[in-house]
Symmetry: C2
Subunit: 201 residues, 2 copies
DNA sequence: GGATACTGAAAGCAAGTGCTTGCATGATAG
DNA sequence: CTATCATGCAAGCACTTGCTTTCAGTATCC
């Protein structure tokens, strides 16, 4: 792809994530791309098309990165399989936390981008739920554990640990990742079959 | 308080929650308040002061409403005490979901309002953690259960169930509240002392 | 060398923005 | 009745924003 187009897309994505649709002016985007504003309009019909393309590309890449490290099709060990996956997702999520917050706020104003905006979250949710259902089928989950509810809990933990630490860091002493791991501990402990239950301390 | 001031504050809060700081123009706010734009500047020095006052008032009210229904000082029954409290908070949170999303996005641009914006969340977090620590002291929690981690999990569930259903409703079939209750089930079950453990189904 | 394609610089335009000024009007208090 | 006060209305100002037009420079391909 054209190098100028590339730089424009990257700049558009950065500024949109920081400032939202309204704040991402064509002048700012062109400046960060090191390009004349006129050139911007020679490559994209208008501002909406540019930002749309930038969002689409960014989220397509995110989905691809996630798909490159899927959970196993046949669950064997929740601790060894689910935890590293969640760690990976949290890291990706935290990295794009600023953009996620912007997307949340602009939701109603960007109906054309809904599919792209939710793509990564949808993918993670579906992947975890599929895995947990398979695990339940293999007897790796405590009978009575609800895979859908557990999925929602884990996604909720991902969500809040990806967004909140930037805003209330004093509540995440020891780091967001450590706090997240402790939350995963609680969930994994809740769904482990009784015979395996931890009784430390 | 002056009726005009009142209407201006209400209008400012509504439009700020829908459109953010940049989108909340003084003309829009004045129009929704049914007031001339000049009158707006006769009541508030500038746009920032108006929106700041609107946010401050809204969140102070939220904190007061939460403080009116606290968790008991001495925990006796997690199921009977914690669950209704969480239900209440979720309802309040969902009602202001639109505003929360805007606040998340505008975070970096509104440093003057940080304290007010995080107030309600901080209050809920502190209240739950206090309660759970007391519960742990009374032997109502399974030994080894980490009150801080459980608090984070519950707040995460509140957070995601307050925000996400508006954006991916098909993932919350049966309603956000039902999904939330199932998440609370998982958490409560995780921290219950072993002797009380559910073994239904 | 000439045609083509991409770019930058300068200027501008129509709409919208925060905010101000000047003046007229109606209600309220003394 | 008069003085005060809050408000509405019209106009405007300086600035930003999305987007356009015109012209000139430069690299590439044949």
């Amino acid at each position: 792809m054209d190098a100028t187009t590339e730089r424009l897309l990257a700049a558009a994505r950065e500024i949109f994530e920081e400032e939202g649709f309204r704040g991402a002016t064509t002048r700012k985007i062109a400046a960060r791309a090191g390009v004349n504003e006129v050139t911007l309009f020679r490559h994209f019909a208008n501002k909406e098309e540019l930002i749309g393309a930038a969002i689409e590309r960014g989220h397509r890449e995110a989905v691809e990165r996630l798909a490159a490290h899927p959970l196993p099709a046949a669950p064997r060990d929740l601790e060894a399989e689910l935890r590293p996956y969640l760690r990976l997702v949290l890291r990706a999520f935290s990295a794009s936390g600023r953009g996620v917050r912007t997307a949340l706020a602009e939701w109603e104003h960007l109906p054309a981008f809904h599919a792209w905006l939710m793509g990564p979250s949808e993918a993670v949710l579906a992947e975890i739920e599929r895995y947990l259902r398979a695990a339940a089928g293999s007897g790796l989950l405590r009978p009575g554990a609800d895979p859908a509810a557990v999925t929602h809990l884990l996604v909720a933990a991902l969500f809040s640990h990806g967004l909140l630490p930037a805003m209330m860091p004093e509540r995440f002493e020891g780091g967001a990742e450590a706090s997240f791991e402790r939350c995963v501990d609680v969930v994994l402990d809740a769904i482990r079959p009784d015979r395996d239950r931890r009784s430390d301390q």
